[in-house]
Amino acid sequence: MIFASVTNLLSAAEKSGLPLWECILRHSAEESGIDPAASRARMRKCLDAMREADASYDPQQRSRSTLVGGQAEKMRLQAEAGRSISGEFIGRILAGALRMGECNACMHRIVAAPTAGACGVLPAVLLPYAEKYGTSDEELVNALYIASGFGCVIAQRASISGAEAGCQAEIGSASAMAAAALVYLHGGTPEQMANAVAIALKNLMGLACDPVAGLVEVPCVKRNAIGAMNALTAAELALAGISSAIPADEVIDAMRQVGLSLPGALRETGKGGIAAAPTAMRFAASFFG
């Protein structure tokens, strides 16, 4: 089972002599009994759907709770005016993450990656990267295979569900997947991708799933922005040749343990963390009252 561990994933690719993305594509297609070309077409559809979702953003729209909407536009204007502290590229990533999170909250069509609540992380780094470096769509599809391969390992060894293991399993997993994809796009090795995954997961370990009023809005939308920035950070470190002192598989196992020890109040019940703040409780009471 190549998705049982990062070690298996990397050694399967090495043994097959195939690039890692192709190894993931072929193996997963075979397992689901579908043609590799059909799998590729489906992944391409996911990429297209990410772009369409990004383009569907409406700055005037608000979520049903009214807590979310319009923020991504503020970030975009700030970045485009050259007022962002860290420059236009970073500003675009932040705006992109917020945009997708807001689209999701406003019931637009999005691509869960790995979940709907974390759908902003991957497109937020991939789309601005492709624009900056002139990456082809074929390469972006390959990067999605890389992301999905590492995501499968995390789902199998730990969890990608906030209700099971907290936000570390949703935004954390999305961030790790995006980090691996960035390392791939920037010419890194599979070992560097594994390091990026380990670093990204370590940085968000323990993150609680504490949605205000139980809605995928606060703090979820803004956490997509930190998930994207964390992916960039982990990828930069890994590409510089910095390795994770703890191997990726052990980090994933640790994340699982942390998830298991999180109290129910911090696992998507809307009862702990930010959701239990007085303002959050007042909001929940008025919204559902």
């Binding site: 559809k45 691509v111 990656a113 139980g214």
Partner: protein, 219 residues
């Protein structure tokens, strides 16, 4: 492990369990009814009742009843489309016993004054669902595979009759459950198959003795 459960599904937000899963429950219920519903009562349980409104669970369920898929951009406006389609619906909350937190009891009518069909569906995470109850009989299936649901009077021979008809068509059975309300009462078979179920098989099953009804749903 399917990689398209990691990148994907493509779905209308905000929540795979409370929105995409809810659409699928509605859609499977519509397929079980085998006709477009004209009237529906949707009774929300647990987290569906508590946070469903903010997640669009209500609009998602109605969208499913109209036959929309989870990636259909008409989902947010499903109430408007329901009016156009002549579907009269009503929401309420309910306390179901031993139910999954994301559950809904659907009562559907194919004719305004007929007898309703009752289905309990649970959204179990990541957009995946399970049908847990059908017309008062406990059962469990995901509707991810072609599934045959056969209602019969609990007399000897029905299971053999149905499996014979299936095997004659070279359809491989993946799983087979038999559930009944009481001995000699009404029973339900749930048969998951590896290949799509055609109407011709349903008609053949319906013509057998002791069979009350049969419906096939394909993903």
């Amino acid at each position: 492990m399917d990689i398209f459960e990691i990148i994907g599904p493509i779905m209308v937000g905000p929540s795979s369990s409370h929105t995409a899963g809810a659409v699928r429950i509605g859609l499977v219920a519509r397929k079980l009814l085998a006709r477009p519903p004209v009237r529906a009562e949707l009774l929300l349980h647990g987290s569906f009742a508590a946070t469903g409104r903010g997640h669009g669970t209500d609009r998602a369920l109605v969208a499913g009843l109209l036959g929309f898929e989870p990636d259909d951009t008409r989902i947010p406006d499903s109430f408007v489309y329901a009016k156009e389609a002549g579907l009269d619906f009503r929401f309420d909350t309910v306390e179901l016993r031993d139910a999954h937190p994301n559950s809904v009891l659907l009562r559907l009518w194919a004719e305004p004054d007929g007898k309703p069909m009752e289905v309990v569906g649970a959204s179990i995470g990541g957009g995946r669902i399970e049908i847990r109850e059908f017309n008062g009989i406990k059962l469990r299936f995901s509707a991810e595979a072609p599934t045959l649901i056969v209602k019969n009077r609990d007399n000897p021979g029905s299971v053999a009759d149905v499996s014979y008809l299936i095997s004659r068509r070279s359809i491989n059975i993946a799983t087979f459950q038999v559930n009944r309300s009481s001995r000699g009462g009404e029973a339900v078979m749930v048969i998951e198959c590896d290949t799509p179920i055609r109407q011709e098989l349903i008609t053949a099953i319906r013509s057998m003795p002791d069979i009350v009804d049969a419906v096939g749903i394909n993903p």
